[in-house]
């Protein structure tokens, strides 16, 4: 079979592909016009885009930025001779600050802005583990106390004393663990700070404030509103629910039946009812559940319910993270003699939380979007504010501009967060391979 043998003497060079394969034509052919079906789809899509753009663009183009009222807008637009009317941007100009900050005093608006910036600084070491030193996590911890102080104001002592509660808990655990055993020490470490927060903080901080009155102006939460309110409710709820969520997730994974079923019951209950019913609980029932005379303001109550709501979802996210850890990690920790809490704290949770970050971000996006529901119980979040703005005789009857503005705000923030979480997910997946 000598005919079989063949040797190429000269290597062929690379050749240009046929024109139908590359370049604009190739691209069009393979992406838009491959086959009659795709061609039809393309044409329909083009028409759809044309119809959409041609109906919206003329409306969007409307020089009404300076208008003082809807009627003025209407005049400007009809002077232009536009058929289908035009947008009235005057309301955005007049009210954008309100939509962003609610009734937060003008001269203090640097505080929420600063808080937002610091939030990013605080999140950086968590969200971008590689790029930032782990030392910055200290700031993240401090931020938890700094942020409420910046937002609500008051004397500096209150947040410091609240933080001191944690320190008390920590040392209570550390020093009593040897003497009375871990479990009792944990109970003590939980009980002491709570007592401290409930009874000691008020008088002490007053006392300190009278000696060294260092503080910033108090801003009451009823002045919170607009987009800032949404962000703030979301951030507070997620931050606190992280702790609750970890506890619930551990509870749900626990081998102890009662603990497990309590956690499952709580999680399933919260996840089984609509957020709006929880908000109704906040607005109508929470005060009834509290001891007579306690009076949280409505925003605090909403935050409490939003926190409970988020913690159930976070618990499920973290449970996923815990389940993703190989058994070997638990066993290795056991074999080294670490007890349950130490192995959770040092080995399991750091890894599980890291895996859970994309899920946590998604939960946050969901919660953040859901904060708009507070408008239904009368809080002035952006959607709630549209009602108040339209109650102003000047802007009575305005719709699209406000909704559009709010939609864009939400879109920008949620979209960027979801991109981040997708990026992180991809990175984690790569890291695991």
């Amino acid at each position: 079979m000598a005919g079989l043998s063949y040797v190429r003497v000269e290597m062929l060079p690379e050749r240009e592909p046929p024109v139908s394969e590359v370049g604009l034509i190739g691209w069009l052919k393979s992406n838009l016009f491959s086959g009659w079906f795709n061609t039809i789809l393309t044409l329909i899509s083009l028409y759809f885009i044309y119809a959409l753009v041609s109906s919206i663009l003329p409306w969007l183009w409307s020089p009404t930025w300076a208008a003082q009222s809807l009627n003025e807008c209407r005049e400007i637009v009809s002077d232009l001779g536009k058929e289908h009317g035009g947008a009235c941007y005057g309301v955005i100009r007049e009210r954008w600050q309100q939509l962003l900050f609610g009734f937060y005093p003008d001269e203090l608006r640097w505080r929420p802005i600063l808080t937002l910036i610091l939030l990013f600084v605080a999140l950086a070491p968590v969200l971008f583990t590689e790029a930032f030193p782990a030392k910055m996590l200290w700031f993240t911890g401090a931020f938890l106390f700094l942020a409420p102080w910046l937002m609500w104001g008051g004397v500096i002592w209150t947040p410091l004393l609240v933080a001191a509660g944690l320190v008390i808990g920590f040392y209570a655990f550390k020093f009593s663990a040897g003497a009375i055993g871990n479990l009792a020490a944990i109970i003590l470490a939980i009980a002491l700070p709570i007592l401290w927060w409930m009874f000691a903080i008020g008088p002490i901080s007053q006392g300190l404030a009278s000696i060294i009155p260092f503080g910033i102006e108090v801003v009451e939460s009823r002045l919170f509103g607009g987009f800032m309110l949404s962000v703030w409710i979301g951030v507070v709820a997620i931050a606190i629910s992280l702790f609750l969520g970890v506890v619930l997730a551990l509870g749900r994974q626990s081998e102890l039946m009662i603990v497990k079923y309590l956690s499952v019951g709580f999680i399933e209950f919260i996840r089984g009812v609509p957020l709006i019913t929880l908000l109704f609980v906040a607005s109508t029932l929470l005060n009834i559940f509290m001891p007579p005379g306690t009076n949280f303001d409505i925003i605090l109550r909403v935050m409490i319910m939003a926190t409970l709501f988020a913690s159930a979802y976070i618990a499920e996210v973290i449970r996923g993270g815990l389940a993703a850890l190989p058994r070997g990690q638990y066993e290795a920790a056991d074999a080294l003699g670490l007890d349950y809490w130490k192995s959770q704290r040092l080995i399991i949770l750091p890894q599980a939380l890291k895996i859970s970050i994309p899920g946590i971000v998604s939960t946050f996006i969901g919660l953040f979007k859901d904060t708009t529901l507070v408008s239904i119980i009368g809080l002035l979040d952006p959607i709630g504010l549209t009602g108040s703005i339209r109650a102003d005789a000047n802007w009575n009857g305005i719709i699209w501009e406000l909704y559009g503005f709010i939609a864009i705000l939400f879109f920008i923030s949620c979209f960027s967060m979801s991109r981040y979480s997708m990026w992180l997910e991809r990175k984690l997946r790569k890291g695991h391979q």
């Binding site: 009627n71 009823r222 119980i377 002035l380 009602g387 703005i389 009575n396 009857g397």
Partner: protein
Amino acid sequence: ATLDDVKARGSLKCGSNSGLTGFAAPNANGEWEGFDVAVCRAVAAAVLGDPQAVEFVPTTPKTRFTALASGEVDILSRNTTWTLTRDVDLKFTFVGVNYYDGQGFIVPKALGVSSAKELDGATVCIQTGTTTELNLADFFRVNNISYEPVPIETNAEAQQQYLAGACDTYTTDASGLAATRASFEAPGDHVILPEIISKEPLGPLVRHGDDEWADIVRWTLNALIAAEEFGITSTNIAELSNGTDNPEINRILGTEGTMGEMLGLDAEWAKRAIMAEGNYGEIFEKNIGESTPIGLARGLNAQYKDGGLQYAPPFR
């Protein structure tokens, strides 16, 4: 007691509407303005000496009563109709009526309807969570005609639906109708039908069980009304408080008698209340009167001397 709480707090918590043209709405600076708002400001001025010392808590029809019952607000001044059940069953005290209203209908002129009884089969926009829907159901049942209710959360949305023709008629308190109509592009194309199908005495309310506080709010409101009756206005009040021939004016302004002390306040309480936003008439004119875009006539809310129902009991 509420009074002590308010004084200790240094501010009055007032439940308000989250947005009703002319009655309560925040302006571009975030300050609340409106007819109902003015009542709260007057009370704050009387009690605390500062009409700005009010925290407004926006409430919805559904959350307003809980807010008051749970102590979240000290006073609810939010176009709330005084009814027996609210007074007795829900356990609130209505301290008076700051606006006599009634439920009416607005229709486009083009519809050619001149009486509500001709609305058989019409689609009716109503704001939910109020007495309105009950009145409406009763009215149509009694007249044996049918209708299609379209429940709506806020006045702004109702207005939008009505204007677009999604309902034939919009029903709410006549004051609201007028306010709404005022903001239309062409108010003249719409008529408010003559039938007023209910009595809607709107007034501020407080919790049962704290009569001292109820008295303060009640008499602050009365002082505003009486001030109009006696011609005390925010412009001449300084002059009048130097003393006048009219003993009742003197008693109101605290130059005679100890009425302030009886209420647990000081002598100038009513003077401050009136100075806050003016007397009842001034408040009316400024927020919803004929000179405003809302353009409500005094009608039932005129002083009794002018044939209205506003009648302040004597300061004596």
